[in-house]
């Protein structure tokens, strides 16, 4: 297939996944921010939301204090935030439109329909959002439904060829990045020494993390015990059965890169990199990670994941 087509499919999938992640961050933070100060800890939830989505610098240089309404506007709608949800869906559609012939009718419908709906929401002029919480909830649900629609149509209607493999590959590269980013921002509340017997002020922070990666229920099923921060870290880093864990993402990344390599009859830098990262994740236990330093581990992972992205681009997308 054309490199440009692969590139567009790749970014289309990444933007849809990113929009979904941002919607979940907003929802989880809203929940956290409605708690009394003494439960939610610091009162800087919206700053964290900005950090987790990599938008803090852009926000600080154009907006004032990180208050709910202006952060929500920035993350959800702002036209000057390249990664606002509205922009993600717009770029997703632009990429989709550039490769219409590589999409099935259902995929196009999912993404074009999403843009028609999302574009009705107007950004404010670098100010607080013009929508109330109820409307923001509806918006976030719409975005979550978009990623479900889109994923569903990819799974159900695409031919199993390189177009499909690149789409799926991109989703897991983006997802690994998102999971790692939220851990990077929140790592301090997950350190074992923070545990306070008999309930912690951090409890709601932990559940907020799990919500942001739609894993709260999954946690309960996997561990069948109360929320423990180190178990959250384990769940999101090293549990194979957790679809958003780093290890699960890399399982998939390696699988799709191998499939592409065998179809094309040629391996390259991206396959080697992916297997390196996967092997490392497989060799570790969560106590190894804490010994190494959770923060250091995650920072190194984000760098590795970025390098993999570059390798994929160089090998296939240019």
């Amino acid at each position: 297939m054309l490199s440009r087509t692969a590139d567009s499919l790749y970014w289309l999938a990444r933007y849809v996944e990113r929009a979904d992640f941002l919607a979940r961050i907003i929802k989880a933070t809203q929940r956290l921010a409605t708690l009394p100060m003494s439960y939610s800890g610091t009162g800087t939830e919206w700053e964290s939301a900005l950090e987790s989505s990599g938008a803090i610098a852009g926000f600080r240089s154009t907006r004032g204090k990180a208050e709910e309404a202006s952060v929500v506007d920035y993350l959800a709608f702002a036209s000057d935030n390249p990664s606002s949800i509205r922009n993600c869906i717009r770029y997703a559609r632009t990429n989709a439109r550039a490769v219409r012939t590589a999409l099935t009718a259902e995929m196009w419908d999912a993404i074009n329909g999403a843009w028609i709906d999302v574009s009705r929401y107007e950004p404010s002029a670098q100010g607080p959002s013009r929508y109330d919480r109820e409307e923001i909830s509806r918006f976030c649900e719409l975005v979550k439904k978009t990623s479900l629609d889109y994923d569903g149509s990819v799974e159900r209607t695409m031919l199993r060829n390189d177009a499909y493999w690149f789409s799926r590959l991109a989703l897991f590269v983006e997802r690994a990045d998102n999971t790692a980013r939220i851990l990077d921002v929140k790592y301090h509340v997950l350190l074992p020494e923070e545990e306070v017997v008999g309930g912690s002020v951090d409890y709601f922070q932990w559940t907020a993390i799990l919500r942001a990666v739609s894993s709260l229920t999954a946690y309960n099923w996997v561990y069948r015990e109360g929320i423990k921060p180190w178990l959250i870290a384990e769940l999101l880093l090293l549990r194979q059965e957790m679809p958003r864990s780093l290890i699960s993402c890399y399982d998939n990344i390696s699988y799709f890169l191998d499939t592409i390599a065998s179809a094309y009859g040629r391996k390259g830098a991206s396959q080697i990199k992916a297997h390196d990262v996967l092997a490392r994740l497989k060799s570790l236990t969560i106590s190894d990670v804490f010994k190494f330093g959770l923060h250091e581990f995650i920072t190194a992972f984000i760098e590795d994941n970025d390098r993999l992205g570059e390798a994929i681009a160089q090998q296939y997308l240019q």
Binding site: R4, R97, F166
Partner: protein
């Protein structure tokens, strides 16, 4: 202007219904206005969902609009169509012979049948194509010929489009939408299908491949990109043909061979159905500022390593000044009388004609010979005094640039407007394919309709819409007596 002076394709002056519209008239009478409006809204939603939009030049970047679709089909009898088809094939065949001659020996000029300076000084003449013979001597593989109707038996060619004509996707999608919105009506009429157009186009493109492709050519559609007004059509066609939709940056030329960049490395390309204008195709050969072209493409083409459809330099055959010579061109190459007439045209380059045009400006339509899309033209009867004066000055300054035609009494067909069903002016663009495997026209084409009352301009960029065009068998409609509404 009185309505009565126009040929209404459904309703005769005495109120009788032309038989071919009999069932349409009954359908319109039986369907409440609210239901028609609902159907139209449904059609619009379908188009928007499918993403059939076009961008308007000069509009805010990325703005996409729908071309309004009218759900009342435009009817043509098979016997009428047969005559149109024969005329279209004759005309495009002659234009191909003309182009081979113009870029070769120029017999027609030496025979004195067209003025030498009309070729030599024509900005559409591409010197780089002279003396080089294109595959199978075919230049125009895809043509869109605009036809207007003015009476029961009167059809005229209004314009030839032999560069990169667009609109065929609307012809195809309009039919799909009609089959969804009014399946019984379509079935009742036994409408001649158009859905085989992509197959016919693919066969044409394959037939034009250079010999090295060994019958298994790699074909691509070359688009300027998604901000082009016809991008939807480009992607639609690539999809229906099952070929890659490429942009200039996806292609590269090495040793006069064209390749596309793929995830598996470079892959050789044999046939390019290009939807980029000549001037932007190759920055090394034509406009150096083109960022949508492919450097070195012309050399690869001239080396015979790749086929371009349409060929470069075809613009000289559809230039509005050359148009006026179409009957001579058909006679010269085929020894036949033109089956389809031209609209009577004054060539402003001729002093006598210019004098007439200047005196009758308020009655005439004046067009730039190289204009397109309805831009830069004067519709005399609809212009203010100031507009007429301004145009007269332009005309006096550079008469070579203009032709004039009478304001044609374009036929009308019933159209769903805000105020109900009303007659609106229409034209027709059928698409003619020419390959080594022969020529083909799918029955029908794109009917364009001027949605504004009294307007004669059907271009989508000027508020025109489209209709599905139905070619139907005479036997189904001939025997029905004209029905009068009671």
């Amino acid at each position: 202007m009185a309505e009565v002076s126009f040929f209404n394709e459904m309703t005769l002056n005495d109120g009788g219904i032309r038989p071919v519209y009999g069932r349409i008239a009954s359908w319109l009478a039986a369907t409440p206005a609210s239901l028609l409006a609902a159907r139209r809204a449904q059609a619009e939603l379908l188009f928007r969902r499918i993403g059939i939009t076009f961008a308007v030049y000069g509009d805010e970047e990325g703005a996409e609009r729908l071309i309004p679709f009218d759900i009342i089909p435009r009817m043509i009898l098979r016997s009428e169509w047969n005559r149109l088809e024969a005329g279209l094939i004759q005309r495009v065949k002659a234009l191909n012979l003309f182009l081979a001659d113009i870029y070769g020996p120029q017999d027609i000029v030496r025979a004195g049948r067209i003025p030498a300076d009309l070729v030599a000084r024509n900005s559409e003449f591409c010197a780089k194509m002279a003396g080089f013979s294109v595959p199978h001597d075919l230049y125009v593989h895809i043509a869109g010929i605009d036809i207007v109707r003015t009476g029961e038996d009167e059809f005229y060619v209004l314009e030839d489009n032999v560069r990169t004509p667009s609109g065929v996707s609307y012809m195809l999608e309009n039919r799909e939408v009609m089959m969804r919105l009014a399946p019984d009506l379509v079935a009742d009429h036994r409408v001649a299908p158009v859905e085989n157009y992509p197959d016919a186009l693919l066969a044409t493109l394959r037939s034009l491949a250079p010999p090295h492709a060994n019958g298994e050519p790699t074909i691509v559609v070359l688009t300027p990109g998604q901000y082009n007004s016809a991008y939807y059509e480009h992607s639609f066609l690539a999809d229906k043909l099952g070929v890659e939709l490429v942009e200039g940056r996806d292609l590269l030329v090495e040793d006069n061979v064209v390749y596309m960049r793929t995830t598996e490395g470079e892959k050789r390309v044999d046939v390019i159905y290009r939807r980029i204008d000549d001037a932007f195709l190759d920055p090394r050969a034509f406009r150096p500022d083109s960022i949508i072209g492919v450097p070195g493409l012309l050399d690869a083409y001239r080396a015979g390593n790749v086929t371009l459809t349409n060929a470069i330099g075809t613009g000289i055959a559809d230039d509005k000044a050359m148009y006026t010579y179409a009957p001579e061109i058909i006679d010269f190459y085929l020894g036949e009388k033109a089956i389809l007439n031209n609209v009577p045209t004054w060539r402003c380059r001729e002093p006598e004609a210019l004098g007439y045009v200047q005196e009758h400006l308020a009655e005439l339509v004046v067009k730039e010979v190289n204009g397109s899309g309805g831009y830069g033209m004067l519709v005399g009867p609809h212009s203010s005094k100031a507009q007429l004066e301004a145009f007269a000055a332009k005309l006096a300054k550079d008469p070579h640039q203009f032709i004039a035609q009478p304001t044609l009494a374009l036929s009308t067909t019933p159209t769903l407007c805000d105020a109900g069903i009303a007659p609106r002016h229409v034209d027709l663009r059928p698409f003619v394919l020419s390959g080594r495997n022969g020529m083909k026209v799918v029955p029908g084409g794109l009917t364009r309709v001027a949605l504004k009352e009294h307007s004669l301009i059907v271009n989508s960029s000027q508020g025109g819409g489209t209709k599905d065009t139905w070619v139907v068998e005479d036997v189904l409609f001939d025997d029905r007596a004209c029905e009068r509404p009671n």
